[in-house]
Symmetry: C2
Subunit: 137 residues, 2 copies
Amino acid sequence: MLLSRKADYALRAVRHLSLIPKGTLNSINAIAAAEEIPREFLAKILKDLTRSGILKSFQGVTGGYRLGKKAREISFLDVIEAIEGPLHLNLCTVEGHKCACPVAETCTMRLFWVAQEKSLKKALAKHTFVRYSKTRR
Amino acid sequence: MLLSRKADYALRAVRHLSLIPKGTLNSINAIAAAEEIPREFLAKILKDLTRSGILKSFQGVTGGYRLGKKAREISFLDVIEAIEGPLHLNLCTVEGHKCACPVAETCTMRLFWVAQEKSLKKALAKHTFVRYSKTRR
């Protein structure tokens, strides 16, 4: 039930950008070095985060990345789902109430997973990057 | 952050055995058929569950499996960890306080993961198979 390395790197990249002074940008090389993330892997991650609006990218020699929204408007859940798609704890909770398991109709365990997933997602949605931007500036 | 198929099958196998009448056994074929689990995969799962004491296996033509403890003494966490080893939500919480990530010493996100992991593990440890054995008998 581990968070993927890709999603963990994404969280760290966003945290990093929540700490840079307002109005500035950070290059992919700077983020990769500071967070010790393999550069090519980070490139894919930053693309996903930019596509989802979490980051803004600027081209050119003086280009780079910054947050695409206020730090308090970006949650852990936003970042994880931008990378991995909708978060689920078990296949049986995927796609609304349609369970991927062949004995879904008689499954008495599904509700437990639905409750746990709801609880974790709530915590992840509540945990925004404002706490990091406040702590370090 | 999905539960593995192996651990999900294990939970279903244990639930299945929590529903059979006391003093009886169920064969691997019966469990595989009832829970629609590939037989060879189930064999590995039942071996892990037996090794950990969650199940008891009996050899011979009339052999099979039953719970190795009372249903109320077997939790979801017991079953998942018998299959996957210690449960973690992020690599940074693995091995006590030693983080697998190279920037562990300055990581401000680790405590959040520790708290979420603790909360999920608590819920999984509290959720025992007694509720299934009671429901269906």
